[in-house]
């Protein structure tokens, strides 16, 4: 985490202290209105962006809020995608009320098992150990899927029927878009609730000084495991949505390319805030969509340089350009400015 700012709370202008809520409202209003103004093929594209935003959020929960460098979020994403694809193919289960909870549970269970293995050793694991462990998990799952006939091998599982709710089919387009957006909004609000709670303060303590917080009585590794599992559940949910949106799953969904891609998206937007990774996914996907057709040969180079530049010179990501460090770090107790007014000031609201 970056060095703290000594700026007192009163010295920022009102709008500067509330840039993140303003961005959240504007962004979700734009998302809500998008299908009304966009053509259907663009709606399909933005649906994919929303699902990837969920995956980027899951990485943010792991790294930005819990200090777990996970290069394996695609493992939970892909495993849940394969899981719901098998439910649809083998058991003809396509109900959103079954497949979405199933995707969530697959992501949760797998991340809990892998997280327990990586995080609950006798000594706290190093960042590089966890990064390599999750990367290895993602790589192994990719290879396993490619060589497993039951999972369709290299070709994956094609022709997944549409997701349903009662007699209604969520076809590609506005219907699926609003389903994905609803899931994103719910997940976002749940994450916002968690990271701004007293538990969020404990996580902030872990990020700030993990060795110290144990001496206050916190089991830092258990808290990290809880957040890693939540992140896995969100990645699983994204995988379930992605599988039904694309209509097929394939080994790349589990592999290191998607895992790394989502790390870069989140870092580009700015980890440690929930809105940063969503902005990162939007910015890169929209730029890719616009430029990959017009300048297909040089676009990957431009993208690579852009990400490198952002990581080297703007480590707080795009969100760091508009929101102050103080706002990004946040307050949890909301202390009164004048201690004598303590009794008159409510302190139960999150910052």
């Amino acid at each position: 985490m970056a060095a703290a700012s000594p700026t007192p709370v009163g010295s920022l202008r009102g709008y500067q202290r509330h840039m993140i809520p303003i961005l959240e409202i504007v962004l979700f209003a734009v998302f809500a209105a998008a299908p009304i103004v966009l053509q259907d093929y663009m709606t399909v594209f933005v649906t994919r962006v929303i699902i990837l935003a969920l995956l980027a959020l899951s990485f943010d929960l792991a790294w930005g809020y819990s200090g777990i460098m996970s290069f394996g979020q695609a493992l939970f994403f892909g495993a849940a995608g394969y899981g719901v694809a098998l439910l649809a193919r083998d058991l003809q289960m396509t109900s959103a009320f079954i497949v979405l909870p199933a995707a969530l549970v697959i992501g949760l269970g797998l991340s809990l098992a892998i997280g327990a293995f990586l995080l609950l050793g006798r000594h706290p694991p190093t960042t590089i150990f966890v990064a390599l462990g999750t990367l290895a998990g993602s790589y192994v799952a990719d290879r396993l899927a490619r060589d497993w006939y039951y999972l369709g091998g290299q070709n994956g599982i094609p022709s997944i029927p549409p997701m349903t709710a009662g007699g209604y089919e969520f076809a590609e387009g506005p219907a699926y878009y609003y389903l994905a957006l609803t899931v994103l909004v719910i997940v976002y609000l749940v994450c916002r609730f968690v990271v701004r709670s007293q538990f969020g303060l404990a996580l902030a303590g872990v990020r700030e000084h993990e060795a110290r917080i144990a001496f206050l009585g916190y089991e830092a590794q258990h808290m990290k495991l809880a957040m890693f599992s939540l992140a896995g559940a969100v990645a699983g949910l994204a995988g379930g949505l992605y599988a039904f949106h694309e209509g097929f799953v394939w080994p790349n969904m589990l592999g290191v390319v998607v895992s790394t891609q989502i790390v870069l998206y989140a870092l580009f937007g700015g980890v440690g805030t929930l809105i940063g990774p969503v902005i990162g996914v939007m910015a890169i996907e929209i730029a890719s969509f616009s430029l990959s057709d017009s300048v297909p040969k040089i676009w990957p180079i431009v993208l690579g340089l852009l990400l490198l530049f952002a990581i080297l010179f703007a480590p707080a990501g795009l969100i760091g350009l508009v929101a102050s460090e103080r706002e990004r770090l946040g307050d949890f107790g909301r202390p009164p400015l004048q201690p004598r007014q303590a009794d008159a000031m409510p302190d139960d609201a999150a910052a």
């Binding site: 007293q198 538990f199 001496f215 770090l329």
Partner: protein, 244 residues
């Protein structure tokens, strides 16, 4: 039965014997000072008691329980809190949140997630901040405080855990004379609530607040007793090269 009972504690780093079989007992509401030259093993003993270092041999009992193999978090929850020698506040958090973090440490996970205790704990946080003269700066980042204020914040954080035994490793290091005097005044009232094991190089400071002193040299206890006993101890004078 003493609150803390250390028996035959040995700590070896490679070929260096940092503690060579230390015995120590601290009673309820006792202020116990640990003194000795640099490298005598004071901080290592503190770290072993708090769980920051694993002893090579020996036992540590706290409130009747064997905590030799317990994690630092378990020790902290049982009422044993350490203030490190090097200032280690949470620099990016506000002064208020530093104390809240410690005050809420014994809340359940569900209580933390649903922020059930935030309102109830507010008064405790503010009382501690006022006691340590930090209430006016509660909204600032801890990194913005002076060194002395960060030391006070850390003592406030340690007390916020409601310890039965507070371990203070050089709480006045780097402080001005005035800050040391204030620190002494701040520590005296806590005697009502907990015991104290304190490592300090400022002998005047430690004489003023402690009931008992233990003197370490080369990892072994050379004398232990009341302040007046230690002041008249020939062995201690030899260690500190004081001529009788």
């Amino acid at each position: 039965m003493p609150l803390l009972e250390v028996r035959g504690l040995i700590k070896v780093f490679g070929r260096l014997v940092a503690l060579g079989g230390v015995d120590l007992a601290i009673g309820e509401n006792e202020f116990h000072g640990l003194i000795g030259p640099n490298g005598s093993g004071k901080s290592t003993l503190m770290k072993c008691v708090a769980g920051a270092e694993v002893p090579t041999a020996g036992t540590i009992r706290f409130a009747g329980q064997d905590i030799t193999a317990a994690t630092p978090a378990k020790r902290a929850r049982s009422g044993l809190t350490l203030k490190f020698q090097i200032t280690s506040v949470f620099p990016g958090l506000t002064v208020y949140d530093n104390v809240l973090l410690a005050v809420q440490a014994r809340s359940s996970t569900a209580g933390l997630v649903f922020s059930r205790t935030r309102v109830a704990l507010h008064d405790r946080v503010m009382r501690l901040l006022e006691r340590f003269q930090l209430a006016q700066r509660c909204a600032e980042r801890a990194a913005a405080l002076s060194h002395g204020q960060q030391q006070w914040l850390e003592i406030a954080v340690a007390l916020a855990c409601q310890p039965r035994l507070l371990l203070l490793d050089e709480p006045t290091a780097g402080m001005s004379l005035e800050e040391r005097r204030i620190t002494g005044e701040l520590l005296m009232p806590i005697k009502r609530d907990c015991s104290l094991l304190i490592v300090e190089h400022d002998l005047d400071f430690i004489r003023n607040i402690c009931d008992f002193l233990t003197v370490l040299d080369h990892g072994n206890i050379i004398d232990s007793g009341t302040v007046s006993h230690i002041q008249n101890s020939r062995k201690v004078r030899e260690v500190y090269h004081i001529r009788a």
